[in-house]
Symmetry: C2
Subunit: 186 residues, 2 copies
DNA sequence: GGAACATGGCTTCCATGGAAGACAATATAG
DNA sequence: CTATATTGTCTTCCATGGAAGCCATGTTCC
């Protein structure tokens, strides 16, 4: 870290209070008995996550995909050739219930992006596979998606991004064991 | 700051790759042409946000509230006595559409936590007000909620939390102007 | 071999929230 | 003062995903 232009904090001192700061101020007035400092982190984290999701979905939409569909196609694509997975695996990888996966696959199948066929060894099982069109689509969409993530992250300096990643990775590691198998989304 | 990088004060070295790291590794194998570094930040941010939401909702549920209901009650409570707001204001404060607010108020009204009455000066308008029971409930629930947030944030040192807040605040400030109208109507 | 239990995928039902439009009331233009 | 536009709330319809339970298949253990 170098002459560190004051990370981003000292950027230019005064920033008008943001939405979260205003909420905190209101609570301090109404409930002075509580320490609402954690909202400064948790509230903003949620806000950022919501904004990012919104921006990300805008790109999915260009390919006529919802977030769920994109996740499934991506999971199949990064599985590597021949781009197949069992629905249960997809559920595990995308962290939603198997019921949700069934519906996502229904939609993708209808769109001709994946196929479903019975599994070879286990006759309860099924195999979901990317079609040529699906492969082609997710490759284009994912390229675009990553470009989009770069754009969104460009609001941070590389040093800030690295710091943020370190902090989030650590927090996540200490949070996960506490709340293992909820039903998260991604 | 600093005796240099070393994450959280050199806590301990090797951590096994987490979910996000594994996804990144798969993409690097399948799409070596792309730089998926941003996923390290964005993916983990979403994961943390999801986990936090899950933990937070667990507390709301103790009071028989969903996240949406909690948000509305909280917005009314921090408005200060007499704890009233127009539906449109609630929509702006909780950042959802007015349609969503209507439904949240329906549920809260059915539960006896808020009342709806016509506005005095503008006859299109309505006034949503906390009932005694609503006031009492949100005060207890919010106290519990803040205790919960403290618990979740306890996984970070005060210095880490402060750093995180600074980074998120800055990012948010630079992201917000770019994406102003996500869902709400403001 | 067969009975009990486990598993994988799917179906049904429910809850939540967005989008768009219906309506009534208010503001504004001419 | 009317005609038009805008506003504030609510209604309808739709999309997504969770929970729980169904069914066919697999596994285990006696």
């Amino acid at each position: 870290m170098e002459q560190h232009t004051e990370p981003s904090a000292g950027e230019s001192a005064e920033r008008p209070p943001d939405h979260v700061a205003r909420i905190q101020a209101a609570w301090r007035r109404e409930r002075p008995d509580l320490d609402v400092a954690p909202q400064g982190v948790i509230g903003r984290l949620h806000r950022v996550a919501t904004l990012l999701t919104h921006e990300l979905c805008a790109v999915y939409a260009r390919y006529d995909l919802g977030e769920g569909e994109f996740d499934v196609l991506a999971a199949l694509r990064r599985a590597g050739a021949p781009y197949e997975r069992a629905p249960g695996e997809l559920a595990a990888h995308t962290m939603v219930t198997t019921g949700a996966v069934t519906k996502r696959i229904d939609r993708l199948e209808r769109a001709g992006l994946v196929t479903r066929r019975p599994a070879a060894e286990d006759r309860r099982g099924r195999v979901v596979a990317l079609t040529g069109a699906g492969r082609e689509l997710i490759d284009r969409a994912f390229t675009d998606h990553i470009r989009n993530e770069h754009r969104l992250l460009a609001a941070l300096t590389p040093a800030e991004a690295a710091q943020l990643e370190t902090l989030l990775t650590g927090w996540l590691a200490r949070l996960e064991p506490a709340a293992p198998p909820p039903p998260p989304s991604r």
